[in-house]
Symmetry: C2
Subunit: 302 residues, 2 copies
């Protein structure tokens, strides 16, 4: 699992930075999380193949989180996409996209599915054989979800030295052994799986929480995950502004990471008022050590 | 009058080029013509002040000509705009923008006016004391207009040597002289204006024609203008594709420029299939000499 930042700044436009968008790489598939304006340019720049994206998750309907979507969906048509695309977004986005395509007389000729979100409870919104995605209800000025994503456990690893001690185990049996099944001899006797295989590495997990006011209620939902991307639009000196606009400070993001026992925190969604973004890292480190700041083009191994 | 190119490429996204958007500078005011995705980033990059824009002209409702608009209008709100903004665009854009603002709960707190275009005849859509804007009906896959823009004539220049021969002409009279009025002495006798002033430079004119199939019918509408921006999505080797998709070739754009007797031609809206855009210039020059290719960040003195 690898996180690639396409944009990590709040809405005010600047020439060198982009609004929220990122891709999470799982098993050679890319999950697109938020889609700020210019996100397709960033995908090209950092050489992420459009066709590896089959699922798009939109946190909320503020422009800096989805204005890149109509252009991206149009481009997919131009480059001849055939694979389906699934969009998980708050109620309303479907209406916007469909109106745009109707009035621009654009015929989206690949299957496009909208999964409209409206629940205020955490729910599983996608489950494949490789990963699971749940919403994390956040609190912002409009209806907003974060996303919790966890790999499915990998296959168990064959303990070859152990397996070789049993000549009766032929290679055709490996398939089931990797999936945790015991080996059953012809006479019905059993070799327990844990004598023949090693456990897989624990499945990786990631959560994206942006935009949100400081919300301790999300802690149980992200407990123990490997990496948390949490917004920190402001520093503590503008804490009141954070409350007023329903955003978080770097310190608050760090507190969430600490309380949830996450392994690593990535800060993002920086306001343009701060000339040096290392100040966010510095502030967070007073609470939580394993932290870094997002940056366009930067990747994080989960 | 000065033309600044923000984006001049057709829709397929690339990391280094932008879709259609440009600003025409007249008298320290900027007219925004088309607004492809990322256009606000380009405005920042080339240091054009957002607040100098009061009029936006959208040629047609294909995404590569207006997907930058919602973000730009939202940003104006964020930076506290107070001046009105006027948008001249085909019927439908208003509905899209208003739906987006409604669903994103965005309160546009500056006056925003839509002037919806639907006529198939050329019409004056804006007249100020500095310039006039007319539509140029084009032919594309959807309803499309080009835009013809001409400065109002400047004031006449005082011929100071001539004026000084008449001590009865005091400085308070200059205001009327510059506006072409004769000088009337106290006794009612007249000094004709053309003895006292010199004619101003002829007013500059510019036309934007994108997107369109080769359409000789526009020639009378752009006769003798100083600068024409005409799309050339394709080269002649792809002429059939141009006809099919209702675009033009470089040669066809040059033919229009030649037939209309324009002074200078700028080519743009290049398809991404061509590695070297100088090929557009080369092809056009066989028909019309005064030609150059648009380029992001390039400016042209009209």
């Amino acid at each position: 699992m690898k996180l690639h930042i396409l944009g990590c700044h709040s809405a005010t436009p600047r020439s060198t930075v982009f609004p929220s968008a990122q891709v999470l790489e799982i098993n050679n598939e890319l999950l697109l999380i938020d889609a700020g304006e210019g996100m397709q340019i960033q995908l090209r720049k950092y050489k992420h193949k459009f066709n590896k994206i089959q699922h798009i998750f939109i946190s909320h309907l503020h422009g800096d989180h989805f204005f890149g979507l109509p252009g991206f969906l149009s481009s997919l048509r131009l480059i001849g996409r055939e694979k389906p695309m699934h969009i998980y977004a708050p109620v309303g986005l479907k209406q916007i996209i469909e109106l745009i395509f109707k009035l621009t007389q654009t015929d989206i000729n690949y299957p496009l599915f909208f999964h409209e979100l409206g629940s205020s409870e955490s729910e599983v919104i996608l489950e494949t054989d490789k990963f699971t995605v749940k919403t994390i209800p956040l609190e912002h000025r409009v209806y907003t979800n974060g996303f919790w994503i966890r790999e499915k456990p990998a296959l168990r690893k064959l303990n070859i030295d152990a397996v070789k001690q049993y000549p009766e185990i032929e290679t055709w049996a490996y398939h089931n052994l990797k999936r945790g099944k015991d080996f059953v001899r012809e006479d019905g006797s059993i070799i327990p799986n844990d004598k023949l295989t090693l456990p897989p590495p624990p499945p990786k997990s990631y959560a994206y929480c942006s935009d949100t006011v400081y919300k301790p209620g999300i802690v149980p939902l992200i407990e123990g995950i490997d990496m948390l991307y949490h917004e920190s639009t402001f520093l503590e000196i503008h804490k009141e502004l954070a409350v007023k606009t329903k955003h978080s400070t770097a310190k608050q993001a760090a507190q969430i990471a600490k309380d949830a026992g996450v392994k690593f925190l990535v800060l993002g969604h920086f306001s343009s008022r701060y000339p040096d973004e290392n100040a966010f890292k510095k502030e967070a480190m007073e609470i939580f050590e394993n932290v870094d700041i997002a940056e366009e083009g930067k990747s994080f191994e989960v």
